[in-house]
C-alpha cells in the first residue's frame, strides 16, 4: 500500500509570530519555517507503517513556494521515499489545497492519505475533510491512535466528549492529532541520503485548478495585552473591587 502524506511549510512553532506594520499579515521574512507539527506526526505515522510492513511506499507532498523543498527534504531525511512539490507563491486556501491534493491522489492512487489535523498558521482544519468528500472515501479526523488491519483502519479520535474509536475501510483520509506519536530525530547520514531521493516539482498553475479565493482576509491584530493583576488588602476591598467591575 502506498501512503500519501501532505505537509505544509509554516512558521516554526517556537517563534513568536509578529504582525506587519500595515496589520495585513504576519511577518514571514527572515523567520524560521518548519514542517507543520501535525504534519510531521503524519509523516512519522506513515514511516512506522512502512517499518511494520503495512505500507510499501511513503510519498510526501507539499503545496507552497519553492522554499518548501526544505521541508520536503526533511521528510525525506526522516525516511519518506519521494516527494512532490506543487509550487506556487500565491496563497492556497483549503478547498484549492484539497483539489490539488486530489489531483495527486488520482495520479498516485494511494491506499491511505495522512494529513495533520490542521496547520498551525491558519488553523483552518478543513483540507482533510474536503479531500475525503471530493474523493468520496471514508475519513477519520483528530486521530491519536491508529491500527491497520488488512483493508481496514481502527482509529481513535479525540473528540469533545473524550475518545471515540471508529473503523473505516481503505482507501481513506486520516488526519492526525498531537498524541498519535513523537516524531523521530533526523539522522545525519539520512540527510545525505535524502539529497539523492527524488523530489518532483509541478507548477500549481499547471494543475488546472481555477480557484479564486473564497476567503478575504480583512486584517491581523495581536490579542489584547493582559493588564496586570491587582492585590487587595481585605475581603471588603475585594468585594468592592468585584462590584466595581460589575462581577458581583
Amino acid at each position: 500500500m502506498k501512503v500519501l502524506v501532505g505537509i505544509k511549510r509554516v512558521i516554526d512553532y517556537n517563534v513568536r509570530v509578529q504582525i506587519n506594520r500595515e496589520g495585513t499579515d504576519v511577518i514571514k521574512e527572515g523567520v524560521k519555517m518548519s514542517i507543520n507539527p501535525f504534519d510531521e506526526i503524519a509523516v512519522e505515522a506513515a514511516l512506522r507503517m512502512k517499518e511494520a510492513g503495512q505500507a510499501t511506499e511513503v510519498v510526501v507532498v507539499s503545496i507552497g513556494p519553492g522554499a518548501a523543498q526544505q521541508q520536503l527534504r526533511t521528510a525525506l531525511a526522516m525516511g519518506a521515499d519521494r516527494a512532490t512539490l506543487l509550487e506556487t507563491d500565491d496563497e492556497v486556501q483549503p478547498l484549492a489545497a484539497a483539489r490539488a491534493l486530489m489531483n495527486l491522489v488520482e495520479k498516485e492512487q494511494p491506499g491511505l492519505v495522512l494529513l495533520g489535523k490542521q496547520a498551525i498558521d491558519d488553523d483552518a482544519n478543513q483540507v482533510g475533510q474536503m479531500m475525503a468528500a471530493l474523493w468520496d472515501k471514508p475519513q477519520a479526523t483528530f486521530v491519536s491512535g491508529l491500527e491497520l488491519d488488512g483493508g481496514r483502519i481502527r482509529a481513535v479520535r479525540e473528540v469533545d466528549a473524550g475518545l471515540e474509536t471508529v473503523e473505516i475501510t481503505l482507501p481513506a483520509v486520516v488526519t492526525v492529532d498531537l498524541r498519535l506519536n513523537e516524531p523521530r530525530f533526523v539522522k545525519m547520514p539520512d540527510i545525505m541520503k535524502a539529497k539523492r531521493k527524488p523530489l518532483e516539482t509541478i507548477a500549481f498553475s499547471e494543475l488546472g485548478i481555477e480557484m479564486p479565493p473564497r476567503l478575504e482576509s480583512l486584517g491581523c491584530e495581536p490579542p489584547p495585552s493582559r493588564s496586570g493583576g491587582v492585590k487587595v488588602d481585605s475581603v471588603d476591598a475585594l468585594v468592592a473591587t468585584l462590584k466595581d467591575k460589575g462581577v458581583l
Binding site: 517556537n14 517563534v15 506594520r21 527572515g30 524560521k32 530525530f185 539522522k187 545525519m188 540527510i191 545525505m192
Partner: protein
C-alpha cells in the same frame, strides 16, 4: 565498540557563523573536490547568531562579490556616527573615535547574513547540518581527527530515551573550530594542546541586544549611536549601541566587560537602566520589542590570542578571539580568518602552520595596532579614554603591550570594599519592557526539551551553597542574562537550582564563575534560542 555512524570529510567545520561559513565557501571556491561539512548547534543557521552589528563589507565582498545582489533581510548603509558620554541626566557629545567611524559600512543582522552565507555554501556543495552540536573532539595519538556530534533523545537521567539517536562521528582530515566566543570544543582544545600558554589572560564582554519596532517617525535609518558612562561607574568597562534600521526599527544593545569587580552588579539590569536615560527613553517609549538575546564577546585581543593551530585542527574567528575591540567589530575579522584558514587548508592540506600564516596577515597587523586600547580601561574609564586617544594618535606604536586581566578572578569579596555606590543613581521604577530577565528570554524564542541532562555542569554545588555564597553571594544569579541560576532556600537549606531551558547559550557563566566550576556543554542539537533577525 561503538555503534555510531561514521562519516568522513576532508574538512569538518564546527559552527555556522561568519568564520566557519567563510571558510567553507572559500574552500569550495578554490578546491571544489574537497569534501566539507559544517555543524551548527542552533536549529537553523542564524538561530544562535547575535551581533550588533555594523560590518565592514570588504572581506565579504572578496569572499562573495555577488552577495549584494540579494542582500540579507536587514542591510542598511551606515549613516552618521554619534558618540555620547552619559551622566545620570545628561549626555555629552564626544568626538567620534576614528575607529568608530562607519562610513561605507553596513548595519546588518548577523543571523540574516549567515542564513545567506549558508545558502551560498550549500550551493557550492558544502554539507550544512543545522541542529547538530559538536559534543567532543575525536583524538588519535595526540591529533584531532574529527568531531563527535551530540546524542539526541537522551533523558534527564542520562539514559537513552525512546527516540534516542547516537551522535555521528565525523572523521576529518582537518577540523576547523569556528564556534564563536568561548566555544566548548575550543575550550577543550586550548586546554589539551596548551594553546594559550604564555599568552595574556583572555577577557570577555557580555552583550545584550533588542530589536524594537518604534512608532513612525523616530527612526533615522543608518544612524549609529554609541555611549559610555552611566549607568556604569567609571571602574566598569562597557557601553551601549543604537543602530537605526529601516521600517521604524532599531537595534539597541549594551555590552559590559566581564572583568567587573562588584559581585552585586547585574549586567542585565545595567542595560535596562540605560534604556531609561532621558536621552534614550523617548526613542523607545510606545514601541515594542520584536526580539532579544545575549551573547558574550571575546575582547582579549592579540596578546590573549591562543595559538591558532594544533595537530589536525585550527581555530578561527571569535573561537580564537580576533574581534577588534576599539572598532567593536568582529565579523570582518572572522570572515578574513575563515578565508585565511581555507587558503591554508587548500594550499598545504594541513592545519599546522596556520598560526604563522595568520600572524603574518593584515588582520594580525590590525589587531596589533589596537592591542593596548581595551586593557587601558583596566584602570577605569578616564584613564582608558586618555590611553585610547594616545594609542590611536600613535597608531599603536607604543613600545609596550598592556596585559589583559582574566574575568573569573576579578570580583571583590563581599565586604572587602566599601559598599559600592553604582546603583545609588539608578532608576527606581523602570517601565520600559522587558520587566525582568524571564520577560526578556521570552523574546529569544527558546526551545529546549526539558527531558535531557542539564547542560550546565557544575562540578561541585556545595561550593555554591557555602563558599560562593559567603564570598560573592552567588554572582551567577545576577550575571546570567536568562536567569538560569537561582539559589533556593527551603527547609533543607540553600541549594542551587539550574533552569537549563532558559539558557540562551551566551557562555557568561563558563567565563565569569569565580571558581571555574561551571562547564557549559552543548545541549541536544537544535536546543536554545531561535533568534530572528538579531
Amino acid at each position: 565498540m561503538s555503534d555510531r555512524d561514521v562519516m568522513e570529510y576532508d574538512v569538518a567545520i564546527v559552527g555556522g557563523g561568519p568564520a566557519g561559513l567563510a571558510c567553507a565557501i572559500q574552500i569550495k571556491k578554490n578546491s571544489p573536490d574537497l569534501s566539507v561539512c559544517l555543524l551548527e548547534k542552533g536549529s537553523e543557521l542564524g538561530a544562535h547568531s547575535l551581533s550588533g552589528a555594523v560590518m565592514e563589507p570588504g572581506p565579504l565582498d572578496a569572499l562573495w562579490p555577488e552577495w549584494r545582489d540579494e542582500p540579507p533581510a536587514i542591510c542598511v548603509p551606515a549613516g552618521d556616527d554619534e558618540f555620547l558620554l552619559l551622566t545620570r541626566r545628561k549626555g555629552m557629545r564626544l568626538p567620534t573615535p576614528p575607529q568608530m567611524k562607519n562610513h561605507g559600512n553596513l548595519i546588518i543582522s548577523l543571523g540574516a547574513l549567515v542564513k545567506k552565507l549558508g545558502e551560498r555554501a550549500e550551493a557550492l556543495g558544502v554539507d550544512v547540518f543545522p541542529g547538530f552540536a559538536g559534543a567532543g573532539l575525536l583524538l588519535d595519538e595526540g591529533r584531532v581527527t574529527g568531531v563527535r556530534c551530540g546524542d539526541m533523545g537522551v533523558q534527564a537521567d542520562g539514559q537513552p530515551g525512546p527516540a534516542y539517536a547516537a551522535g555521528v562521528d565525523i572523521q576529518a582530515g582537518t577540523t576547523v573550530l569556528a564556534e564563536g566566543c568561548r566555544g566548548s570544543l575550543t575550550k577543550e582544545a586550548i586546554a589539551r594542546f596548551g594553546l594559550s600558554e604564555g599568552r595574556s589572560a583572555q577577557t570577555y564582554g557580555l552583550g545584550f541586544k533588542e530589536l524594537w519596532q518604534l512608532p513612525p517617525g523616530r527612526c533615522r535609518p543608518g544612524l549609529i549611536q554609541h555611549t559610555v558612562g552611566w549607568p556604569l561607574d567609571s571602574a566598569t568597562y562597557g557601553g551601549s549601541f543604537i543602530y537605526h534600521l529601516d521600517q521604524d526599527r532599531v537595534y539597541i544593545g549594551f555590552v559590559v566587560g566581564l572583568d567587573y569587580e562588584d559581585a552585586a552588579f547585574s549586567p542585565f539590569e545595567a542595560f535596562q537602566q540605560y534604556k531609561h536615560h532621558p536621552r534614550i527613553r523617548g526613542l523607545l517609549e510606545g514601541g515594542e520589542i520584536l526580539a532579544s538575546g545575549a551573547r558574550t564577546l571575546i575582547e582579549g585581543g592579540i596578546q590573549a590570542l591562543p595559538k591558532l593551530d594544533m595537530p589536525g585542527a585550527m581555530l578561527v574567528g571569535d573561537a580564537a578571539g580576533t574581534l577588534n575591540v576599539p572598532k567593536i567589530k568582529g565579523i570582518h575579522m572572522a570572515i578574513n580568518a575563515g578565508i585565511s584558514a581555507a587558503d591554508h587548508i587548500v594550499e598545504s592540506g594541513t592545519a599546522e602552520g596556520f598560526d604563522a600564516r595568520w600572524r603574518g596577515s593584515a588582520s594580525a597587523r590590525e589587531l596589533h595596532k589596537v592591542r593596548n586600547v581595551r586593557p587601558g580601561f583596566n584602570r577605569g574609564l578616564w584613564l582608558g579614554l586618555i590611553n585610547a586617544a594616545w594609542e590611536t594618535l600613535t597608531g599603536g606604536r607604543s613600545p609596550w603591550t598592556l596585559r589583559t586581566r582574566s574575568d573569573h578572578d576579578s570580583l571583590d569579596v563581599v565586604g572587602s570594599n566599601p559598599a559600592p555606590a553604582f546603583a545609588d543613581n539608578w532608576v527606581q521604577d523602570r517601565d520600559l519592557p522587558p520587566r525582568d530577565r524571564l520577560a526578556s528570554v521570552y523574546f529569544a524564542n527558546n526551545a529546549h526539551d526539558e527531558d535531557q541532562p542539564v547542560h550546565l555542569r557544575v562540578a561541585d554545588t556545595s561550593i555554591c551553597e557555602t563558599r560562593c555564597y559567603e564570598e560573592y553571594r552567588n554572582p551567577c544569579t545576577r550575571f546570567c542574562p536568562a536567569q538560569v541560576y537561582e539559589m533556593v532556600e527551603d527547609d533543607n537549606g540553600r541549594r542551587l537550582q539550574i533552569n537549563a531551558s532558559n539558557c540562551v547559550h551566551c557562555k557568561a557563566c563558563d567565563i565569569k564563575d569565580p571558581y571555574q566550576i561551571i562547564d557549559w556543554v552543548p545541549p541536544e542539537g537544535g536546543s536554545g534560542p531561535n533568534y530572528q533577525n538579531l
